[in-house]
Amino acid sequence: MIAAAVLAGYATVVGWAAPAALARARWAHRSPKAALALWRALMLSFVIALALTAYHLTRTGQHLHGLLGVLDVWLGGTGTPATERAAEGPGLLVPIALAAAWPLAWFGAVLVRSRSHRRRHLALLDLAGRPEPRLHAVVLEHDTPAAYCLPGPQPRVVLTSGTLAALTPDQLHAVLEHERAHLRGRHHLSLALTEGFARAFPGLPLARAARTQTADLLEMVADDHALRSCTPKALAAAMCEVAAGGVPQTALAAGGPTVLLRLKRLLRPRGGLHPAARTALLLLALCAPALPYFVTCGPTLG
């Protein structure tokens, strides 16, 4: 029972408290990749903590492993037989796999849906668009500046003629590099993962925050990639031209549009994080999912 309570507490922290803190973290925009790793680690931790909670609720009797077992020994607890103090065996993977199957099924459903959506879009695009081999892009005759990419087995970068008219060659290069970074990094898979997680756990603050934050951070990753071969000014100006050309058609996300955050980053660069800080964050991302195991199921040392 104690183990189940501790795990439920951990799941609560990961699912409710941690997302708010991470979403506010200022360093995240300086190292979007580390922040992305941490969001994924939180999602994984949540699923593992949930699985182990359910597992411990179904177990009866004295049953204390891991750090809890250590505490128990220190406090003079003698009720737990020594055989019950060894680390949990591989049988533990069953509840974890069962718990992970639920968000993974949603991930699969999102993948299938978005793939068929993209296929429909691609069929029309290839009929009505004009291939521009020199840009490795497809151009749509439309005055509204817009640029997007279509991931998949036959990826496409799409621009409107309005975009071509509004941008200088430098700015155009920046836009193309940004979109190619999305395609090369297979960012649509990360988006589908957080979307699947959000549908698996509707209303969970972690799920909501992971979805919006991942989308924002992936844009920043693509921006950073583009900056390897273009100036911040060219990218920023391209963003302004494309964002300002159209009429807003979607309700704005809470906290203001991502483009403003991205611009602030470009125009007032604060440099990447110190390597030591990045390493620490990646270690944290590795440890967070393992923590519930070591606290309640790992070997009882000492």
Binding site: V110, S114, E195, V247, P248, Q249
Partner: protein, 122 residues
């Protein structure tokens, strides 16, 4: 090796550009100015486009004449709506360069850029 999809696009492109119904013969003759394409290939692809609903056809005297069911602008509008509009699964299907923003924010952006330009010149 060109894909069938390329030929589909080329046929649609010609019919949209001409703006009038045309026979397979006319399309083949025009395509053959650039490269050799067999009459039967074009006929097959036109038939595919008809069955997909992109072309309609009528018998004129003894030959079928084809024309697009919708204008190129209609296709473009549908694509733009899909890419920019509100759709529950758009976010995972397509990745947009930037989201559209309100006029106030557009003005703020322009001011910010102007300020940088001025700072650069000084």
């Amino acid at each position: 090796m060109r894909r069938l999809g390329d030929l589909e696009a080329e046929i649609m492109d010609r019919l949209w550009t001409w703006g009038r119904p045309a026979t397979v013969r006319e399309i083949v003759d025009d395509l053959n100015r650039k490269r050799a394409v067999a009459y039967t290939t074009v006929m097959t692809v036109a038939d595919i486009l008809y069955h997909k609903g992109h072309l309609r056809r009528e018998k004129e005297r003894r030959a079928w004449v084809y024309q697009p069911t919708r204008s190129r602008e209609a296709y473009t509008a549908a694509l733009m709506h899909d890419a920019l509009g509100v759709s529950p699964d758009r976010s995972t299907a397509l990745a947009r360069f930037v989201e559209q923003i309100s006029p106030d924010e557009q003005e703020a952006l322009r001011q910010a850029l102007l300020a940088i330009d001025r700072a650069d010149q000084q």
